[in-house]
Symmetry: C2
Subunit: 243 residues, 2 copies
Amino acid sequence: MIMQPEKGHFYAVGVGPGAPDLITLRAARLIEDCDVVVAPRSNRSEESLALRIAAAHIKGQEVLEQVYPMVRDQEKTRAAWAEVADWILPRLEAGKSVVQITLGDPLIYSTSAYLLEALAERVSPERLHIVPGISAMQAAAASFGLPLTLQEDRLTLMPATDLDAVSEALDRSETLALYKVGGGLPALRELLKSKGLLECSRLAYAVEQEGREQLFTNLDDVDASLGYMSAVLVHKAHKPWIA
Amino acid sequence: MIMQPEKGHFYAVGVGPGAPDLITLRAARLIEDCDVVVAPRSNRSEESLALRIAAAHIKGQEVLEQVYPMVRDQEKTRAAWAEVADWILPRLEAGKSVVQITLGDPLIYSTSAYLLEALAERVSPERLHIVPGISAMQAAAASFGLPLTLQEDRLTLMPATDLDAVSEALDRSETLALYKVGGGLPALRELLKSKGLLECSRLAYAVEQEGREQLFTNLDDVDASLGYMSAVLVHKAHKPWIA
C-alpha cells in the first residue's frame, strides 16, 4: 500500500497544518516524484503556505501557483477551479503526473474538493487520487494535550459561522472543533460563557506555523482580530462507557 | 517547528491507519531517534499493527510490546496503563527518550490518552508530547474520494454503539463518521435505510492495511462479521453557503 506517482495521474495531497515535518511520507514522495506541482493560494495571502511547507520536496518540477478568489459564491468558485482544471488536463493527457498540494487535509474544508469535482468530469476515477493530511484540529489537540475522543465520545467539526447550530452541537457532543472563527469570536465567547464552557475551551491560531502560531487556554486573552486561521476546541466531560 | 527527541521526554505518536507511508516525517524521525519504543497491542490481536507500520524505522531500539486488556472497565483499563507508566518512568528518569506508537491519531479513540493520563501524574507537561496521525476516517474518505466537509458542513465522529445517538447525529450533520461498527452493522443498516441514507453510506474495513482492506460502496454487500476495524461514512447533501 505504498503510493507511487503514475503517468497521467492526478494526486490531491494534504501537507498538514504548517510544520514541514507534519506531512506524510506518501505526500513527500509524491511531491518529489510528480512532474507538475499545483499550489493554490487565496487572493488574500501573499504566498502559498502549502508551497512553503512542501519546499524541501520541490526540485525543479513545473510549479503553478494559482490564485483563486476567496468568495462565498458557488459559481465564481467553480469557474475559478474549472480554469485550473483546464491548465492541468493537457498535462495529464501528455502523460505527466500532477500533484496539487493543499493545507491540512484535502477533504476537510479544502479547495481540493472543487478541483477534484472539475477534473472528475473529464478524467477517469482510477486516475484521481487523494492523500489525507493532518488537519488543524488534530494539531491543535496535540499542542494542547487534549483528547478529541475517548470511549463513547462524539466529536463535531463545524464552522463557527452559525451560532445557533454551534449551540445545538455543544449540547450533543463531548468535543467540538470550530473552524473559521475569525470575527465571530466575541459572540462565540459569549455563547460559551452562557453555557459555562469557557473553561473547557482553547483557541489555536496558525497552529504549527513557524513564527505565527499562538495558543490560548483562555479565550478572554484572544484579540478578536486574529482571524481566519483560528480553530477553537471545546472539550466537555467524557461520556462514560455504556454498560 | 521540527520536533527532535529530547532526553527524558515522552512522545505519543500516531502512525496512521496502516500503510507504512501514511506516517508523518515527524513520527518517522521520532521513532528512529528515540531510545525506547512502546508498542501496545490489545489482547485480541496477534501482533502490534502499529509496530508493523513503524518497522522500517526501528533499528535496535529497546521495544516494549505491551498487551493491554480490551475491556469496557475504567478501573481495569487505568490499572493496565499505570503498569506501562511504571515501566516507562525509570527510563525517562535515566534520561532516555521514549516513544509510544499508536494506530491512527493518539487523540482519536486511542489508548494513548490513558497512558498520557498516567504519565501526567508524575512527569512535567513540558516532557510530554503528542504527534498527530492520519485517522481511519480520513483514509477512508480519501479512498472513496468523498469530501468530509465543505463550506458550512458539520462532521460528526462517533462510535456506532448507541443507535439513538447516531439517529440524532444523522439529523444534525452533513457527514457522519462512525467507528466501532462491528456486530452492530445490521441494526445500523436498518436505521440508514429508514432514513433513506443507505445510498449515501460507505464502509471501509482495515483501510490502508495491506492484504486486509475492504471497501464497500453498498452496505448490503458487507458481511456483518467483519467487525471492529470498520468505519462507516454517511455523506448527505452539503449545506449551502450562508448568504
